[in-house]
Each structure stands twice: as C-alpha cells, then as structure tokens.
Point group: C2
Chain length 202, copies 2
DNA sequence: CTTTCTCTCTACCATTTGGTAGGCATTTGG
DNA sequence: CCAAATGCCTACCAAATGGTAGAGAGAAAG
C-alpha cells in the first residue's frame, strides 16, 4: 500500500512544478517506477488523482494551521505566530505552488474551498482586529478582512515564487538567505502595517 | 493584418485563464474564427506564439511602468504612485495572471526577464530607501529589496487571484468593492510598513 | 495579362493523451 | 487446498495534440 503514497508524493511534486495540464499520467508513473495502468488502478482517473493530491494538502493544512492560528488569537505573540506561519509555507514551497496553481486553474472550485476552510478564520481574525482597533492597539484605517487577504497572498504567493526572485533578492551575508529575507520582511510588513505603537524604534 | 493582433489578444486571454498547457492551438483558432493552419501561418509554432504574447505584455509594461516609477522617485507622492501602480495591474488582471503563470511554469526564463527589466528598478528604489532611512523618513529595519519584492508580490499575485478571493473579501457598501478593498489595503500596508511618521492618525 | 506574394483553406500525419481489456502472478481468507 | 481478491502487467484504443503539404483565391506589381 506504499505505492499509493508514492504516487501521491510524486504527483504533488510534478503538479506543483509543471501544473496539472503540464503533467501526464505517464510522467507520474515513470517517476514512481510503475506502468501507467498500474497507476490508474490506484486512481481511476487523472482527475481523481488531482482531487486526492489536493485533499492530502488540505488535510495537512487543517491539521497544523488551526493550532497555529488559535495560538495567535489567545497569546499576543504576533511575531512568533507569523514566523511559524511563514515557516510552515517555506518548509514546502510545493504546497504553496500547488495552491496557487489550483486557484488560477479552477477558481470556482477554489472559492468553495476558501469559503469552507479559510473564511471562518478570516472572520475570526476580523472580529479580533475590530476589538483591538477599539482599544487603539491596531491602526484605525485597517480593513481587517482585506488585511488578512493581503498577508495571506504575500505569504503563499511569495513562497511559491521565492526561488525565482532570487535574482532580485540575492543571498546577502549581512541580511541572510533569499528565503530568510523574504520571511523576515513579510513579518515586518505584516506587523508594522497593523499595530499603532509596537514599532520597535531603533 | 488585423488577424495577427486578434490572435495575440485571444491567446493572451486564454493563456491567462487556462495556462499554456491548458490551451490548445485549436482553441485559440476557434476563438479567432480561423482554422488552425491559418494561425500557424502567422506564428510558426505554439511556442513562438507564447513568446510573442509575452513580448507584447512586456512591451506594454515597459512603456508605462518606467514613467510611473520615475514619478514615484522624483515626487513624494507615494500614495498617488501606488494607486496608479495597482490600478495598472487591476485594469487588466489577465496580465498579472499571465505573469504569475509564466513565473511558475518557466522559472529560469523568468529569472532572466526579471534580471533585465525589474532588478534595475528594485536597485534604484533600494538606494533611495537607504537614503531615506538615513534621514529617518523610513523605518530603520526595512530591507529595501525584500520590501520591494513583497509589495510587487502583493500587487501582482493579489490582482491575479482577487476575483476568486471575493468570498473572503466581499463587496461591502461601507468599504467598497472587492477590488477596491484590495487596492486600498495594498496601498495602506505598503505605506504604513515603510514610513516612520507619515501615519495619518485618525 | 501574367507573375508573384499573401493568406486561408482542406487533408493529412506522427505522437501523445487519458483510459480500457484482460491476462498472470501473488497474497488472503474460508 | 482452493477460491477470491489484490496488484501489476502487456496490448490496445479513440481522441486530441502540434505541425506539415500543398492547393486555391485574391491582391500587388511588372
């Protein structure tokens, strides 16, 4: 039963790298080291394989992110949470790429997914930001939902393309690796565009 | 000679919507209303068509963006420039989608393009931010290049997927349309994570 | 008028695509 | 010990893919 898992692994990687349409069933079978019909024995069609790849990604996110976000809402450790969040994406850029590709390729389907799994969290965060705004902790002109969308976009899309942006954002002995620079600035931007006072003035 | 332009238009749209691999030459020909060999008379191969679509997009950007960015560096109208910038992308989301897809599909090729057309501007902006930092106008912990990358990512990727994010960021009588909310928050985040004082306190 | 050039077409082609039929081992369970 | 299920295979298949050959219509140029 190891084969099924292997198929999913290679399919995830190839779909992320080349896209669904850019990857043939044959290519995945080759990567696994089996014949095409053997693959289609485990997944009745290419589309079913795609759905399983997506379901696996979603399951992983749902098993990790809620805990992360819950910690963000209870504690006040914004930086630590954001760091864990960006680490989560950077740890496996293929997941971000897959997500971005699905969003481009099948927007309607992705809308349904977003409504179910992302919106509740954005709503929750929105409420908390509104309360923090009332207390003056958060800048008055923040649009909470829009803010969440921008940060998510930065994190996911940034992770998906970061290796390509290496030309613009090279490794730098003083500032760290490309990925590190991205992660740090993402957090800095998210943080300093949210709070009123908390700026760590030099 | 109008046909060539028509092919490019429909190809741009379809490549943006469905991706290069997800779009057949036949489909493009159908959209234009000609037969496949007629299309291949104007562009010797699908790949040549892709290159021309890309070149057209690039030409358009290069004819508009330099002026925009130059204005950003001479005047101090950060908001106006950012607004024009985000308007430029939002005006035709297909261009952002095309750009994003190309970055995912052909990273090496995109690196070359970025090195030639984007990096100089990021470098220029970087220098100016460093100077502004020395004057205390800009926050001390900004990583200029990384900042530029984050803002570009937000603008391009945000525009590419904004219509799909409508579920999370719905039209709101008080706050405006989805696109408007995205554009406004993008500018707010970019602005307030950059300057030291300029926060428009309520 | 004839030639040449531009453009579109029909007819075709090899290859690849996702997918099926069905045989043949090996394991499982009664 | 036998039967059924499991898993992988070879051999196919129809459809779609990107691309070519070459004919014919119409305009441009001599």
């Amino acid at each position: 039963m190891d084969v099924r898992a292997q198929i999913l692994t290679h399919a995830s990687r190839l779909f992320a790298e080349q896209g669904y349409d850019g990857t043939s069933v044959q290519e995945i079978a080759d990567a696994v080291g089996i014949r095409k019909p053997s693959l289609l024995y485990h997944f009745k069609s290419k589309d079913e394989l795609r759905e399983n790849v997506l379901a696996e990604m979603l399951a992983h996110w749902n098993s990790v992110l809620p805990g992360l976000l819950l910690k963000a809402s209870t504690e006040e450790r914004f930086d630590a949470t954001m760091e864990a969040l960006s680490e989560f994406f950077i740890e496996d850029p293929d997941r971000a790429r897959l997500f971005l590709r699905e969003t481009l390729d099948r927007p309607e389907q992705m809308q349904a997914m977003l409504a179910q799994f992302v919106q509740p969290w954005v709503e929750l965060l929105g409420d908390q930001l509104e309360r923090a705004k009332a207390q003056g902790l958060v800048q008055a002109d923040v649009d909470p939902q829009a803010y969440a969308v921008e940060v998510i976009t930065m994190a996911v899309a940034g992770t998906a393309v970061i290796d390509t942006l290496q030309v613009i954002l090279p490794d730098d002995p003083a500032r760290g690796s490309t990925r590190k620079r991205h992660a740090r600035e993402l957090i800095r931007v998210a943080r300093s565009s949210l709070y009123t006072e908390t700026k760590g003035e030099k």
